[in-house]
């Protein structure tokens, strides 16, 4: 059986979708759910935070969780259109 390598856009969508489904999620759980290597996971997360798709919340007990921003929610809503755009234009 062969598996198709996930495109970058699919990885981003999977990460954001996982955060949305959980509302708030711990970094370790998100790493497992993303199915990425720790190094790749860090790169994607840093980019998503810097582009304001997700944010890292730290509570009083120093517990870290990721949550979705408005931009991240917009991305999920437009994902199908973006995917269709890429296929239609051969990008």
């Amino acid at each position: 059986m062969t598996t198709k390598k996930r495109e970058r856009l699919d990885v981003i969508k999977d990460i954001i979708q996982t955060i949305k489904d959980n509302r708030q999620i711990k970094p370790t759980r998100l790493l497992y759910a993303s199915n990425l290597s720790p190094q790749m996971f860090k790169e994607y997360i840093n980019e998503l935070i810097s582009k304001k798709f997700i944010k890292l919340d730290i509570d009083g007990k120093d517990k870290k969780t990721f949550s979705l921003t408005k931009k991240g929610q917009d991305f999920l809503m437009e994902y199908k259109v973006i995917e269709s755009f890429i296929e239609n234009f051969g990008l």
Binding site: R8, I82, N88, F89, G90, L91
Partner: protein
């Protein structure tokens, strides 16, 4: 009065209108695709957006500023040089949006898509081609580069059409790139063998408008879903 003589009579007005229409189409495509790039961070969308940004600058520069520079500043050389440079860059960006996946690694990201290491090669080539044309007082370097770019883009868009037959737009994309190729070829023939025949140049202008309208149609159609 024939269509050709009408066009000649009101040439500068038509040229400004033509440039503004194409620039408006390009800006609409840029605005729509910029929104999708910012959401997706997809490099292909980014390069596609850049192509239409450069097409827009080229046309507004050539026909709108060009008209005033002809009248006031006599700087046709500079206007012509930058028109060619931006137009060649637009062609490069359009082609690169179709092949970037074969050249860049999946996680390669750049701070800017206008001046990164790979795109600098295109800037260099566009500058050299535009400079050669202006120095030798020809248009052949621009014509040949665009004919090659659009021929290659036609082949790639045809492959995409065959691959994505379930979608509507790939066939229009293929038609648009073919129109682009034919328009550049007629432009070359008009310059080389027909002394810039007005009828042929009108055909080229109409084909250019069709080319841009097809892309606008695709962008609007796909993004309104």
């Amino acid at each position: 009065m024939s269509l050709s003589s009408l066009v000649i009579e009101y040439k500068w007005m038509l040229e400004v209108f033509y440039a503004l229409a194409i620039t408006a189409i390009c800006m609409l495509v840029v605005l729509k695709t910029d929104k999708f790039y910012k959401l997706s961070l997809h490099q292909g969308i980014r390069y596609f957006r850049n192509a239409f940004f450069f097409f827009g600058i080229a046309f507004v520069g050539r026909y709108v500023f060009g008209i005033f520079s002809d009248l006031a500043l006599h700087s046709a050389f500079i206007v012509g040089f930058f028109f060619e440079y931006f137009l060649i860059m637009a062609g490069f960006f359009l082609l690169y949006s179709l092949i970037w996946k074969k050249i860049e690694s999946p996680n390669e990201t750049y701070l800017t898509s206008l001046f990164n290491a790979k795109i600098m090669i295109f800037h260099g080539m566009a500058l050299v081609l535009a400079l050669l044309d202006k120095t030798l007082q020809t248009y052949y370097f621009m014509f040949f580069s665009q004919m090659i770019i659009f021929a290659y883009a036609s082949v790639l868009s045809y492959k995409n059409y065959r691959k994505n037959a379930k979608h509507d737009f790939p066939k229009f994309y293929f038609v648009a790139t073919m129109i682009g190729f034919v328009a550049w070829t007629i432009n070359f023939l008009a310059a080389s063998y027909f002394e810039w025949h007005h009828g042929l140049l009108i055909d080229v202008g109409l084909m250019n408008i069709m080319f841009f309208l097809l892309f606008l149609y695709g962008v609007v159609k796909v993004t309104k879903k």
